[in-house]
Symmetry: C2
Subunit: 328 residues, 2 copies
């Protein structure tokens, strides 16, 4: 499905932003001021082959391109994707995508659309979006963390995104916070942040706590296949003690990870984005508390934890499209 | 004590490098090619007051300045110090120094010597030294880690040192690797890298392992006040099983911390420096192994672990002095 949200100024060059997630892909056409003029989404998951994915993307996006004035107005395409590599334009071994190995995604899209394509990690794209249009406007040192199905991050230092020597920097979600901790199915590692501070992680914590405690809880009435971070949120809002403990535990681990990130690159702010942030203070309060508790004195009471105020449906598209304006 | 190592080219401008450590302070006069022309050292620890420290520094360094052609040839002074802040020229709450609170060190030295002073964290200074003269020459993305009495780090990304928004970035030694782990006396935190992967940490591991195991070991014959990382090294070289386990354990924790750092900034190399690196493969082999084991696939078998080849006595001075050439 595709929808039109605003009219564009005739003749102004436009950028296409595509955000590829493990479940769905969002795309849109954006002007230089960050207005998402047209946008749509499609399933990623159902495409076992990247080629059928590209074909469907072409079909749905071509419709929007026509509406926005045709291919001639498009300056280029920016893509945010898990494990996307800015230097090579490839996706490499993305644990949350259906396509395994190394996928030359930028090249595939470029060939199909006949437009220049630039690609990066989805969280890096989000960081660029926040720096250009969002909560990190004007900041030179900040960390963007996306708390969705997984945990992504984009790190900006000295006013520039850190890509690292190979283009893969910023995988905070895979750093080990609990040595020999919870198993991560996608990577086979034990105890990474993503196993705890994601929607998936919250669900796993709920299952564990329900099993290991005898405490009464609203969550015991939720059918197993409906037990997710939303169910935990609803129970917590209703005052359920176990649900509150689940958020407290999640915040404890996220706070520890944030403290470690702060002691690494000393950002002015950490910008949080994604489904889990909807829990508001339920997750933010313990996160902030445990972050401060793990920081050495010199870093205490300095770092802002901000929630992205970009519309969730726009932010990823904005970030990806922002890459286009930097193109040579 | 002060010694002369090389003759300088008459008239060429020179830089003074000062490296302040918890125990001792090293200083030297360096030319643009990185030759340490004159150098010396003094105690830090015995000066409970920073003013008497500055006075002694002035006395011993003035001697060298005279030998090197007088104050007129000195372009400036670069200082590396724990918790040294590049932006403000202050040392703030340095747990390993005798002076507490916020010390305006750059200003104090500037007033005493009447020369421009620039200051940074000791490990940042070492990183700049490695980038200009050492193992990281030509690299744009690397991490420098100093494994001495404590653990320091300097992170370079996009060819620039990461100072963070407040000048305090790069405190990898204080990141928590074992939640609720070993207590750190200086900071009051539990489980930071420095509590394990420093000379102090190795000694603590030795004490713990000797207490918790009944195994025979050469280390049982070492008097308690002589039980240090050097004693563990000597025993390990002699094939002592417990001593080898101490290094294996240290490497396991260091490797985990390196993996987390790699997934953060994806450096081309990690440059290790300091006393612990003298243990060579005893520490490097388990470190490398556990780093790889904790990395997700996209980072595996890519990152070099290098040992600094700068002379230990020179490296810190070189790094601090290198700051001077960047002065405005």
């Amino acid at each position: 499905m595709a929808k039109s949200t605003r009219k564009s100024v005739v003749g102004q060059p436009l950028a296409i932003g595509i955000d590829i997630g493990g479940t769905g892909t969002k795309f849109g056409i954006v002007d230089r001021d960050g207005n998402v003029l047209f946008s749509g989404e499609m399933s990623t998951k159902k495409h076992a082959e990247v080629n059928t994915f590209i074909d469907e993307l072409y079909t749905v996006l071509s419709e929007l391109i026509e509406k926005a004035g045709g291919i001639g107005r498009m300056k280029g395409i920016g893509v945010g994707a898990p494990n996307g590599n800015f230097y090579t334009g490839t996706i490499e071994y993305a644990p949350n995508l259906p396509w395994k190995g190394i996928i030359p995604l930028a090249k595939l899209i470029e060939n199909k659309f006949n437009l220049p394509v630039t690609l990066t990690n989805d969280a890096n794209a989000a960081a660029i979006g926040e720096m250009m249009y969002g909560a990190a406007k004007g900041m030179k040192d900040f960390i963007m963390i996306t708390l969705g199905t997984g945990v992504g991050s984009g790190i900006v230092a000295n006013g520039k995104l850190i890509y690292g020597h190979d283009g893969f920097a910023g995988e905070l979600g895979h750093t080990i916070v609990i040595p020999d901790g919870r198993f991560h199915k996608g990577t086979g590692k034990k105890g990474p942040l993503e196993s705890y501070a994601s929607a998936t992680g919250v669900t796993l914590t709920a299952i564990e706590m329900l099993e290991n405690s005898k405490e009464d809880s609203l969550l015991r009435k939720v059918p197993k296949d409906k037990l997710d971070s939303k169910a935990v949120y609803d129970a917590a809002i209703a005052g359920d003690k176990l649900a509150l403990e689940i958020f407290e535990f999640t915040g404890k681990i996220l706070g520890l990870a944030l403290a470690n990130a702060v002691m690494f690159s000393s950002p002015e702010a950490i910008v949080l984005f994604g489904g889990l942030t909807k829990a508001g203070d339920l997750i933010l309060k313990p996160t902030r508390e445990h972050m401060e508790a793990n920081l050495i004195q010199v870093f205490q009471n300095k770092v802002k934890i901000l929630i992205s105020h970009l519309r969730e449906s726009d932010a990823a598209i904005l970030g990806a499209s922002a890459l286009v304006w930097d193109m040579k």
